[in-house]
């Protein structure tokens, strides 16, 4: 691990720490404090944007574990999140307590993800991408025609989650719940990446044949990647369903899968921090566009009709520009900025 100047490790446990330097811990602690205090300052709209960001962070970090770390391209992540949403919704509708419902949603989604991960043993790269695209469309069909289980085209209506009689019925209350889950997911994925699993995933991504030669059981670990990633996707779905109070099939279409892929590419493939950057970027982008369109609307009234089309076009353009000019993502840019200040005023 690359440390700060003057930071020397004298023991193996010291080197294996998640946050090796005191300064790093201090900064993260301060950042967490700011986040905890935020709902007191932010208005309802900004709090709701933050809540969406937290959910997106969980989804993005789970996809990054599968696609960024293990190299298994998934175009079906949106549908996996949908599976979690429906599973959690059905649980709470049947009176299962909220935390248990979220865990069940994760478990169900992990199972579904592993079923759709089975082809990954025989398929890779583009073929796997197309197989997961099939998973996405098949699941979408099931959502829409699932009868009682999914509510068909009516979807499911849910209440706000409650814990021991305490109801998370406002955006600010939801904020703390989602904040907890987002932080826990980030911690979980950071730690998975430091274990045997994480190293096996990276070796499969880098070259599957050498991974197999050094004794990584490809099938087992690819399935594990699908399972772990889908578990978190299910959690994200369950939280989203209970936050919006409504589950319907069109929320979990191919567009959602694509925007999650966009998040991890813009943030940085295989980087936990990158997932956060990407989630923030892609969630905030449409809101910024809305604000801009409202501002311009005063001068050009016809722009409001085109806002949907514009939003999609800007999304595509941003994606293309990032891939061409910043292929390593925002996480890489962040590392460069940090290195710049570490070395300042010397360039090398």
């Amino acid at each position: 691990m690359q440390g700060k100047c003057g930071l020397f490790f004298t023991s193996y446990p010291g080197e294996a720490q998640l946050f090796p330097s005191g300064f790093q811990k201090l900064m993260i602690g301060l950042f967490l404090l700011v986040l905890l205090a935020a709902p007191a300052v932010l208005n309802v709209y900004l709090t709701s944007v933050m809540n969406l960001i937290f959910i997106a962070v969980i989804g993005a970090v789970s996809l990054n574990l599968l696609t960024g770390v293990c190299g298994q391209i998934s175009l079906g992540h949106g549908a996996f999140i949908g599976v979690g949403a429906y599973a959690a919704g059905q649980c709470t509708l049947h009176g299962v307590p909220f935390p248990l419902a979220i865990l069940t949603a994760g478990a169900v989604t992990a199972l579904v993800g592993m079923v759709f991960g089975v082809p990954s043993l025989r398929l890779k790269g583009i073929y796997l991408a197309i197989a997961t695209l099939a998973a996405q469309l098949v699941l979408e069909y099931v959502f829409l025609h699932g009868g009682e289980l999914t509510g068909g085209s009516n979807g499911l209506l849910l209440d706000s989650p409650s814990l021991f009689g305490f109801s998370f019925d406002t955006d600010a209350r939801m904020y703390y719940l989602l904040f907890f889950f987002a932080a826990a997911s980030l911690l979980m994925v950071s730690n998975i990446m430091r274990t045997k699993f994480g190293r096996a995933f990276v070796s499969i991504r880098d070259f599957y044949l050498s991974a197999e030669i050094v004794g990584v059981n490809l099938f087992q670990y690819k399935l594990a990647a699908f399972g772990l990633s889908s578990f978190l996707a299910g959690v994200a779905g369950g939280l989203w369903a209970h936050y919006t109070g409504y589950v319907s099939a069109e929320q979990f279409n191919i567009g959602l899968s694509i925007s999650y892929l966009a998040m991890i590419i813009i943030g940085g493939l295989g980087s936990v921090l990158g997932s956060v950057f990407g989630a923030v970027f892609i969630t905030v982008l449409p809101e910024v566009l809305n604000v801009l369109a409202n501002g311009l609307g005063a001068y050009m009234p016809e722009i409001s009709q085109h806002i949907v089309a514009l939003r999609e076009g800007v999304f595509g353009l941003v994606l293309i520009l990032f891939l061409i000019y910043e292929p390593e993502g925002l996480a890489h840019r962040w590392r460069l900025v940090k290195a710049y200040w570490k070395l300042y005023p010397f360039a090398h």
Binding site: T67, I73, P119, R122, L123, G125, I126, Y127, A129, I130, A131, L133, A134, A135, L137, V138, E140, Y141, L144, H145, L209, S210, I213, I254, I258, L261, A262, I265, L269, H306, V308, A309, L310, R311, E312, G313, V314, F315, G316, L317, V318, L319, I320, L323, I324, P327
Partner: protein, 295 residues
């Protein structure tokens, strides 16, 4: 029986259009190893340009059609030069996502210019159905099918006999070897995008004549994947047959599900269920090249 025969004939017609779109997909994949998720949007772009030229600028259909082809050539060059060339040699996921981004941009441009409502082409062919073997078929369907066959024949011959076609095949087989034999790889890449755009535009114009066009036309691109996987990602014959087979299977499955199980909308997923089965049994498709890896 009559019901299923009608389903098969309709499937063949839709399949002919899938074949055309798949043809564009395969040409790009064959020469550049790029998987193009914007194939449906290229179809849409061609369809809308031709529509604008005939209806809004009142240009006779045949000239509008030729102008659309010229536009497609320019579009192909622009896409290759601006979007794909900077990404040569990047990973699968980057290249896939750049075509996804491109599809968003194309879709948004079409919506900005023409809105989302359905637009209908002026009648070019007579609407009186022709009866073939007891089944009525609209002339436009026959024209669509015929055009697919002709284009397929042209491109097969092009790849087999022309210098450029052979150079394109050589590039697909081994880029470095082709380059060292004096083939300009970049021109080949640009050329394959142009051809793919032309083929897609033809598909778009045909579709416009059949059903009219709207901003959802891009979804057609997704239907191409089952067709090309069945045929094999890098086989022209595979694209043609795959398109037809998927068109027929999809229509028959949809009809059967409707009649026997009372399920609606099965058309949307039938092709993808078939796709998963194909991938499990024969991942390289019917005519695809099986890649052999050695360490």
């Amino acid at each position: 029986m009559e019901y299923y025969l009608q389903l098969i004939v309709n499937g063949l017609v839709v399949g002919g259009i899938y074949s055309l779109v798949a043809l564009g997909f395969v040409i790009i994949y064959k020469a550049t190893k790029v998987v193009n998720f914007a194939q449906g949007e290229l179809v849409m772009a061609g369809a809308y340009v031709c529509f604008a030229l005939t209806v809004q600028f009142h240009i006779p259909f045949i000239w509008a059609f030729l102008l659309t082809l010229a536009f497609s050539v320019l579009l192909g060059f622009a896409i290759e030069r601006m979007v794909l060339r900077p990404l040569i040699g990047e990973e699968h996921i980057s290249v896939i996502m750049v075509t996804v981004g491109m599809s968003s941009v194309l879709k948004s441009l079409v919506q900005l210019f023409w809105g989302t409502q359905i637009r209908v082409y002026p009648q070019v062919l007579p609407s009186e159905p022709i009866v073939i073997a007891g089944l009525p078929v609209a002339p436009v369907y026959i024209a669509a099918f015929g055009l697919s066959v002709v284009l397929f024949a042209i491109f097969s011959a092009f790849f087999k006999y022309s210098r450029t076609g052979i150079a394109m095949r050589a590039t697909a087989f081994d880029q470095q070897a082709a380059q060292s034999m004096g083939i300009g790889i970049k021109n080949i890449f640009a050329m394959s995008w142009c051809i793919a755009c032309i083929v897609s535009a033809v598909g778009g114009v045909i579709l416009g004549n059949i059903n009219g066009i709207n901003a959802q036309l891009g979804h057609l691109g997704l239907k191409v994947f089952p067709a090309v996987i069945l045929g094999g990602l890098d086989s022209l014959l595979g694209a043609a047959l795959g398109g037809l087979i998927i068109g027929v299977l999809e229509n028959v499955c949809d009809g059967a599900a409707r009649e026997l199980l009372g399920l609606g909308g099965f058309r949307e997923v039938a092709a993808f269920i078939i796709l998963v089965v194909i991938l499990m049994i024969k991942p390289y498709g019917l005519f695809g090249t099986k890649e052999i890896e050695r360490v």
